[in-house]
């Protein structure tokens, strides 16, 4: 090892810009790594954004971050900061909590910034006590101290620091106050860690560091500490990281299954440790984890009384608003009114006005893009086929999708407001009671809510559901709620067939929820989905005015991903559709066709259209549009735009489309495409989250069958009222009534009375 190089390196660590990487004993450079850990919705991501200058999305409801995210500290690019998913304990239940725990134990972290919500000190400190036991230097950041001050409470941070044995810093992550102090403190703590890693002058020798940082837990009783010490003696004989041995010893005392699996204890040691645990359990007549939890909360309650001077209790504004919005009778009607208003304004009123401007203006035939491009291409004498490709294909197809951008902008705006103000987490709470009656829980609604933007993160958010059976059911049903990609299709049909009727978009949204609920009832009858209903405990964050930055960020993210998709996937799809619908065999020759019925696409569509005959839209164009919808749901609008020659019509009239669909057919088509298997990106997400080929195919099959059933029933039973049935139609209508009766029977019947054998997917 070149000691001159080390000295030279560390000289620069003292002078000028402070370096925070160190050269280790074996000559490697070790850059500092800081982790931000804390409860859900405590301000971790806000702090992360403030420290790194990143612009991670922050929602005002728990469970937004489900994966860790890394960035570099703004003030010192050598330091890596990691934002972890929120956890309440280091005994994780859900997959994203496991992500946090594993990261804290396995990664070579130099210090932890523990964000503590000062408005919920008791609950937050439970995690803090466990984080301290890990043995990594820790700084407690008391967040939301401005809210505490407003409420009139006072926290003695010095006493809190003394009692916890770690530095405590007051911050407001949102306003950016106290951040410099937090960063300076955490870097100072990180430098003290492990002299076996660092040769920094401030670093302590390993044994001195461990002497200062080892010892009994402040949060357990003397008796429990004695047991923990005894367990640590056994662990010393094993090759585990000594820095974490105290943490593992406490976890073993709690009978933490993950720790037992991880350490893979030899049989004799396991027996001795188990005997120690059983002694405590017998004495206190409680499980090991119950005893430890009780000891921690006893410490925390006493600590809170010591350090917090509470102001006389007043009813907060949040509580006053919640008395109305989460009222046991009014909550659900209010939710229905709110979502109705959101979709009514976005799709029908303001949205339609904005859309008309875009469709008739920017994509219009008078002065819009199609005319400009068409005139330009004509001026440079481009071939007719190329003009057709660009104007009738690309511009018509992509334009049909982008034409609905204003409606989506308005919808995203409202969704961002609802998320930012804190109402979204109330929705999950309100619906929990209803969801339970249908075999689901309010927690399953969070992925569904996210799915209103895009199905991919919605499916991934199912990781917040702890129970395996419920998680699978959530994955299978998330995409029943219309995502933003389906909005152009809904808006197109609402405008072309239903004269911009307000009820089209609203009915599709609430049908999605209804199908999810009925799916819950149906799937719970099957063995693989049977499980005890998990309790739903959620934090209701305080109401706050959504920040302009967060709302703008949310809208920007969604709109830019939509536009990117239009310019890539949809563009390629429109070229394919144009080519296959413009070329074919006509009069015995292959080439551009006069009549689209002779095209290659028509030939394919005319084969698959029979699949959709029972659903009422056995037209090759509809069949093809449905299939292209698997690439991206917006493609349905783009494909129909090309096949029905939108480019040749007065903008926004869609006359050919309106002439081809009766209202019932159009609604049946809409229902099928809204409920069937999602786009390839979402299908890929289902495959990844299911982690099983059988479950993946079960999910896709279930979604497609559900869509087929609903579309079939709606069209066939609806036809009875519309009239004009004959021959095969009558047979299908009878079949629809039978299918509906069977469906109602299966849903309503108690599981043990079902007459057929239950399907078992549990064997993988």
């Amino acid at each position: 090892m070149n000691s001159f190089k080390v000295k030279l390196h560390n000289v620069f660590a003292k002078k000028g810009k402070e370096k925070t990487d160190y050269i280790t004993a074996d000559g490697q450079t070790h850059a500092l790594k800081i982790a931000i850990a804390g409860n859900q919705n405590s301000g971790k991501t806000t702090l992360f954004n403030a420290l790194t200058g990143a612009v991670q999305y922050i929602g005002n409801w728990p469970g937004v971050t489900i994966e860790k995210k890394e960035g570099k500290l703004k003030s010192n690019k050598d330091v890596t900061v990691t934002d972890l998913p929120g956890i309440y304990s280091l005994s994780p239940y859900s997959p994203e909590e496991k992500v946090s725990r594993n990261y804290l134990i396995e990664e070579d972290i130099d210090a932890i910034l523990n964000i503590v919500d000062s408005t919920n000190l008791e609950r937050s400190l439970y995690l803090t006590t466990q984080l301290i036991e890990i043995g990594i230097p820790l700084v407690v950041c008391l967040n939301l101290t401005d809210v505490i001050k407003k409420q009139g409470h006072v926290i003695d941070t010095q006493k809190l620091s003394e009692r916890l044995g770690v530095p405590v810093v007051c911050i407001s992550a949102l306003k950016g106050t106290g951040l410099k102090e937090a960063v300076d403190t955490v870097l100072a703590e990180a430098r003290k860690k492990g002299a076996n890693l660092f040769h920094h002058p401030d670093a302590l020798p390993t044994d001195l560091y461990l002497q200062e940082h080892s010892g009994d837990s402040l949060f357990l009783t003397d008796e429990l500490n004695e047991k923990v010490r005894a367990i640590e003696v056994y662990l010393k004989t094993l090759p585990i990281d000594y820095l974490h041995s105290h943490f593992f010893a406490v976890k073993l005392l709690e009978r933490d299954g993950l720790t037992f699996d991880r350490l893979n204890l030899p049989a004799d040691i396991k027996q001795k440790i188990t005997a120690l645990i059983e002694e405590i359990e017998k004495k206190y007549d409680d499980s090991g984890d119950g005893v430890v939890i009780s000891a921690r909360y006893t410490f925390i309650e006493a600590l809170k009384k010591e350090v917090v001077k509470e102001a006389p209790k007043k009813v907060s504004t949040t509580e006053k608003i919640d008395r109305v919005l989460t009222h046991k009778i009014f909550a659900l009607p209010i939710f229905i009114v709110v979502m109705f208003a959101v979709y009514y304004v976005s799709v029908t009123t303001v949205g339609t006005i904005a859309n008309d401007f875009v469709n008739e203006g920017i994509f219009g035939s008078d002065w819009g893009l199609p005319k400009v491009i068409s005139d330009g291409l004509t001026a440079i004498n481009t071939a007719d086929w190329l003009q057709s490709l660009i104007v009738d294909g690309i511009v018509a197809g992509v334009g049909a999708v982008l034409g609905f951008l204003p409606q989506m902008l308005i919808l995203f705006f409202f969704l961002a407001i609802l998320e930012g103000c804190g109402y979204m987490s109330r929705i999950a709470f309100i619906l929990d009671k209803i969801f339970r009656k249908f075999g689901l829980s309010g927690k399953s609604f969070i992925p569904i809510l996210i799915g209103t933007g895009c199905g991919v993160p919605g499916i991934m958010a199912s990781r917040t559901v702890e129970n395996d059976a419920d998680r699978r059911m959530t994955i299978m049903t998330t995409t029943f709620i219309p995502c933003s990609a389906k909005l152009p299709v809904i808006a197109l049909f609402a405008g072309a067939i239903f004269n911009n009727a307000w009820w089209v978009a609203v009915s599709v949204y609430f049908m999605g929820i209804a199908v999810i609920l009925l799916s819950g009832l149906l799937l719970k009858k099957l063995k693989p989905f049977k499980s005890a209903q998990a309790p739903y405990i959620t934090e209701l964050p305080s109401y706050r005015f959504p920040s302009v930055k967060n709302v703008a960020l949310s809208i920007w993210e969604r709109i830019s991903s939509f536009v990117k998709k239009a310019g890539t996937i949809i563009l390629l799809a429109t070229i394919f559709v144009w080519f296959t619908s413009s070329f074919g065999v006509e009069d015995g020759k292959f080439g551009m066709v006069e009549d689209a019925e002779n095209s290659m696409l028509a030939a394919i569509g005319n084969v698959i259209k029979y699949l959709f005959y029972p659903l009422g839209f056995a037209d090759w164009r509809s069949s093809v549009a449905t299939v292209t919808g698997l690439i991206a749901k917006e493609n349905i609008a783009g494909t129909l735009a090309i096949l029905f020659n939108f480019a040749e019509e007065e903008s926004g009239t869609w006359g050919a489309l309106a002439a081809s669909y009766a209202p019932l057919q159009a609604y049946s088509f809409l229902v099928f495409n809204m409920l069937c298997a999602p786009c390839f990106a979402a299908i890929g997400a289902i495959r990844r989250e299911m982690k099983s080929a059988k479950w993946f195919w079960a999910a896709i099959g279930y979604q497609t069958l559900t869509a087929y059933f609903y579309s079939f029933v709606i069209y066939r039973i609806g036809s009875v009222f519309v009239g004009g049935l004959n021959g095969l139609d009558i047979a299908f209508t009878v079949l629809a009534f039978i299918a509906l009766a069977l469906y109602i029977y299966v849903i309503a019947c108690p599981p043990d009375k079902l007459i057929w054998k239950k399907i078992d997917f549990s064997k993988r």
């Binding site: 004498n381 071939a383 991934m460 993210e557 990117k564």
Partner: protein
Amino acid sequence: MLNNFFTENLGTIIVSAVLIVAVGLIIARLIINKKKGKHACPYCPSASTCPACKGKDGGKSCCEKNEES
């Protein structure tokens, strides 16, 4: 004769070339993203701010990491 062909069809040739290049770039981008495991990222509303999807942390997207776990 070839000169006449190019002169008469110059507009078509240029526009076609631009289109081919654009389509080629799009396809190449999609293939590169798929190889990096970012196949769903462009369509994820959080992709524009996710450091994983931007490759800042070594290029592994959250989708790819989930496949490994």
